[in-house]
Amino acid sequence: MNTAGIVMRLAWRNLWRNYRRTIIMLMAISIGAWAMIFMIAMLRGMVGDMIRDGINALPGVVQVHHPDYRDDPSVENLITMPSGEIESVFKEAQIQYFSPRVRVPAIVTSERASRGVTLVGVDPAKESLIQAVGSNIGEGRNLESVDDSGVVIGHRLANKLETSVGKRIVLMSQDRNNEVVDRGYRVIGLFTAKLPAQEEMFVFSGRTVVQKMLGIGDAVSEVAVSGPDYKLVEPLVQEVRQIFNGSEEVLSWQELDEYLSAMMGIIDGFVFVWIVVIFLALSFGLVNTLVMAIFERVREIGLMLALGMRPASILSQIIVESVFLLLIGLAIGNVLAYVTMLMLPAGIDISDLADGMELMGASDVLHPTINVKDIIIVNTFVLFLGVLASLSPAWKASRYEPVEAITKV
């Protein structure tokens, strides 16, 4: 029996019978959908920024270290520099970007003050392939080669040391024999970073210069590896493990930064809870609307049953009506969310709360991120739960006894 056409037509026309009620319900659904999508986009944006900034702090979604380095990040726990051969292996594995670095704790001293910092010896040619901290030079110039003997420091650090481009600073660290070594460097550039703490923490110089100062030959502290997408990291870890297949520890950023990956998990959980809470708040109104709609139409439903329409068709008529309501509401909500995003193209400036966001590890500009997956989840979820919530009133309507229904005043 082909009743789809008439069921759809009845559902659609019934929807607009009490247009005020339908509009109120549509507003509720679209605000709910908007809130879901918008909040999720904000959260995703925040966490995405956190992760990008976190990874960019010293980029490399996968990092290779000496097994003891993470616990004891000293000059003793080094790995041998990937030689020319390994370089070609990286190319063969089509790994877009890798960079060996020396990274040791150090004290920086100017004429005026001392600070504890992390001295990073880099290969500018390799680092610049990715948007890294230190690549955003606000004043002076960047490092030019592995044996560039200048240093690039953050604006804030320069402030605190009361130094500036062209002045000399002294960096102190220890060599492999635990002798304190120091070396004078000229400040050649000042970088800006999204997170102020990074501006105070890192001091960059040419890798071979740092290696010479520390007397560690060719050895490096870490090799950072990046792929095209920070989310697709497992295959990259596997590839890098195969390249090194030695005693080195190869870890992804999730393993390196537990706070960030925990945040990812929390956000996923929160997205789910958020959808459910909003939906439940909505569902009372939805069920109420359907109950009312059915209550008003008891006699018609009785008539249709009396004329020989099957209960299943009555059930589907109510469900289809609810689906129409949900679909329109969702569509409006999606468009609203999209428009909201368009109105905030450059991101939301929350620099008033910058220090607080920094505590969370996020930057002061939020870039709401609409994720196709989230959109699909929100819409299917609301639709699915909405149909589920409509089942009970719809089932009740289809169980009416035609005689009682039709004679009901």
Binding site: R13, R17, E300, L303, M304, A306, L307, G308, P311
Partner: protein
């Protein structure tokens, strides 16, 4: 050939603490092509009888036959199917689905039965012409008068060529002139299509149209008059 046969049918309702015997051992046989009026005062059991015949309501005991089918033992789905294919209904009020136009209301049963749209249109136009409403096919029930609404309901009842049309007080909400017109229409359709009509009423003018008059009181048939000619 017998179209309807009721054998010893009983039905009791509970209203609050009272028990109402709506049908009290009713026996009735109606021939094919008959034009029967069931008359009774309010609460006399005529609606219950029609509902039992139409498979809308189950008797407590007894047998109801439509043609060769005993319907008091069918399940809900089979009853729906029976109503859909063999019986046309005209109710006292709220006969039409408010969100559908006159023609869509007429087509409703055909559409549920899955009749192709071309055939539906052809038939519904013919019938609307027959009941004199060809100009109003696009109107919704709220835009029509009570008499027009009932005519649409009649058109819907007969459009599928049912063997039986049950009309429960079809004129209750109509003025006398419109009632006359509706009864004339019933009589004409009965003659032209050979459809069996069972009409419940307590309106004397309606009864005057019937060839057979079944009078009920307190759930029992008290009189069964066969009138000659019409």
């Amino acid at each position: 050939m017998t179209a309807i046969r009721c054998i010893n049918v009983c039905k009791t309702y509970h209203q609050g603490r009272d028990e109402i015997k709506a049908l009290d051992h009713v026996d009735l046989a109606i021939d094919e092509g008959a034009f029967v009026c069931v008359s009774a005062p309010s609460g006399g059991g005529k609606t219950t009888l029609l509902n039992a015949i139409g498979g809308l309501d189950m008797p407590d005991s007894g047998e109801v036959w439509i043609g060769d089918t005993r319907i008091d033992q069918l399940n809900k789905g089979e009853l729906a199917e029976l109503r859909l294919r063999h019986i046309g209904f005209v109710f006292q009020a709220y006969n039409l689905i408010p969100v559908l136009t006159a023609r869509e209301n007429v087509e409703f049963v055909m559409e549920v039965r899955g009749v192709p749209s071309v055939e539906r249109q052809k038939k519904s136009r013919e019938i609307l012409q027959e009941v004199g409403l060809e100009d109003l096919e696009g109107r919704r029930p709220a835009e029509m008068s009570g008499g027009q609404q009932q005519r649409v309901a009649v058109a819907r009842a007969i459009v599928t060529d049912p063997s039986l049309v049950l009309a429960d007080e079809p004129t209750a909400n109509l003025d006398s002139k419109t009632s006359e017109g509706l009864m004339d229409l019933f009589a004409k359709l009965n003659k032209d299509h050979g459809t069996t009509f069972v009409i419940s009423t307590h309106d004397r003018r309606v009864m005057a149209h019937a060839r057979r008059l079944v009078k009920m009181l307190d759930g029992c048939i008290v009189e069964d008059i066969r009138q000659k000619g019409t």
